[in-house]
Amino acid sequence: MTAGTVTAEQARARPALPAAKAVRRSFSSPIASLIVIVMAVLWTIPTFGLFVTSVRPAREVATTGWWTIFTNPHVTLSNYETVLFQSSFGSSAGLMPYLVNSLAITIPATIIPLTLAAMAAYALAWVRFKGSDTIFFIIFALQVVPLQLALIPLQQLFNEQLARVGIDLQGTYVPVWTAHTMFALPIAVFLLHNFIAQLPRDVMEAAMVDGANHFKTFRSIVLPLSTPALASFTIFQFLWVWNDLLVGLTFTGGTPDVAPLTVRLAQLGGSFGRSWELLTAGAFVSIVVPLAVFFSLQRYFVRGLLAGSVKG
């Protein structure tokens, strides 16, 4: 690929075109841009329609399409008041308790696996011992277990076996926290190990020489240096738990005491099937938190989602 193989004509035809742009150039044209714009609009309209419907008055939502808001702009926040606080929306106090539950489930179910996985990853990477490679491989291999495979016995453990020995955890967050922690560990240990194992060896050795034990090294050196990996996993796990339906449904029993928003919404789909102004407001309440995370932390968000895309 010497300069000699390029004819003068070719060189003139594409004067300052970097090679990497060649493929893209082949696809660039007003038509290409138009396709992308149409696609982006198509991808956004359903969510936009949901949002518009959630701020329209009930009577209009029942009789006209949301697109008529452009010719007949009536806007109200009363749907949100109804779904969040009022008893007419299904349960004693609207969606508010479920929104609280979602937060109360998600925060510990993110912090606890993050901490335990970082500890395990550090031990496997830097406190090397006989069998540490085997243990790492087993944890790594556990990623292949889909959570469905562990679901039924684990549910029986919390609902029946522990209750039989006098530990009744029903109606508390403990089962759902524990289940999320257990299911998050393989991918969390794997991802954090990849990062922690590549921290510079001389920094670690310097700490040891200074007399720090492993606990001190972990707290004062490993954790601060691992912030990017910890942040990515935190965002991934937060959204995974927030958006989860299966674990929430299985381990909370669907009561206002502990069930998250997703579980409640799935229930409402049946009973409020026609009150679209309420259903759309409820759905928007549940998606506004992930959307806020998405738009404010986009870079970490993408990185976290890509890293966790193989989660079981």
Partner: protein
């Protein structure tokens, strides 16, 4: 009326405050215990120091994995050979049921359609968008819009699309976008989308495709950018352009990434039950494996059949996950 609302709202807030308080106490207690154990174990000296260190760091994760994944997974396999309330062994009767009974045959057919159509369409659309968006001004803006559904839960996505598919009597004003559009295009009597078999299966797949295309686009876009300049340059000098450049140079160069995207979406498609459960509950001929597994255990209360379907699901995703993990490791090794 407003009085009762105020009272209710009061109790809602105090309830919320209590739940937050409890949650924060639990998190603080957890972190406090970890620090305390660190402090205590850090003071140990002599021969027990090292094993103690290993036990403290590794123990909690290993115990949770053992009781949360390994033992329950084996338990599921055991349950799959037992009857509905797990009181006696029935040999392979559940497996015979899973592969031969009529209702399940439709579930398996639907699942097969899902894991072929949804991943292929997602990957093709993602690739097309990755190629097209690359040259545009403000490309990150368009990418964000297409990636945004990834942030939404499958339940939320299902609500969004149920509203799109909402059908009213054709003589009345429509509220669902799809009906409105097809009527405007001249289809006088569109069906009730969600009830129309087998069309409804494809309409549910649209939701999965809508959610996952952004993921495919972002991953493939990164892969295309990573193709070395020299290679595309050389191909271009040799006269390759447009589709030829795409099919003979770019696609072969990102082949591994394409397959990883395809298998990742396949795994998600196999495991996600949220869409079918929220949209139809598995009725109207739309049932799939993941939702049937949940229904067998938690609606029909047949732990044997539910476990059997869970094992089948596991066996189906196993090769895909193994392939994916090997590919990801290879990529990491070469980087």
């Amino acid at each position: 009326m407003s009085g009762t609302t105020a009272v209710l709202a009061d109790s809602v807030w105090s309830d919320a405050a209590l739940k937050f308080q409890n949650t924060l106490v639990v998190v603080a207690a957890f972190l406090g215990i970890v620090l305390l154990v660190f402090f205590a174990a850090g003071r140990a000296t002599g021969r027990i120091a090292r094993p103690l260190t290993i036990a403290v760091f590794l123990g909690p994760a290993l115990v949770l994995l053992l009781f949360g994944l390994v033992i329950p997974a084996l338990g599921t396999i055991n349950l799959s050979f037992r009857n509905d309330d797990s009181t006696r062994y029935v040999g392979n009767r559940n497996y015979i049921w899973a592969f031969t009974s009529d209702p399940i045959r439709q579930v398996l057919t639907n699942t097969l359609l899902w894991i072929i159509i949804a991943p292929v369409v997602t990957t093709v659309l993602g690739l097309a968008m990755a190629l097209l968006v690359d040259r545009m001004k403000r490309q990150s803006f368009y990418k964000s819009l297409i990636f945004m559904p990834m942030a939404v839960s499958f339940v939320g996505a299902s609500f969004i699309w149920r509203f799109v598919y909402e059908a009213r009597d054709p003589n009345q004003p429509q509220v669902g976008l799809l009906s409105q559009v097809v009527i405007a295009l001249g289809w006088k009597h569109p069906p009730n989308w969600i009830l129309e078999q087998p069309l409804n299966n494809f309409l549910l797949m649209v939701i999965m495709i809508w959610v996952q295309t952004g993921f495919a686009m972002v991953v493939l876009s990164a892969a295309i950018k990573a193709v070395p300049d020299e290679i595309t340059e050389a191909a271009r000098i040799d006269g390759a352009q447009g589709p030829r450049l795409l099919f003979y140079v770019t696609i072969p160069m990102i082949r591994n990434t394409l397959i990883v995207v395809l298998t990742t979406v396949m795994i998600t498609t196999l495991k996600v039950f949220d869409i079918v459960r929220t949209m139809t509950g598995g009725n109207f001929g739309t049932q799939i494996l993941a939702n049937e597994m949940y229904s067998q255990k938690f609606v029909q209360f047949d732990a044997g059949r539910g476990s059997t379907l869970a094992v089948i699901l596991f066996v189906a995703v196993l090769p895909l996950v193994i392939y994916n993990i090997i590919q990801l490791r290879k990529e990491r090794a070469t980087r």
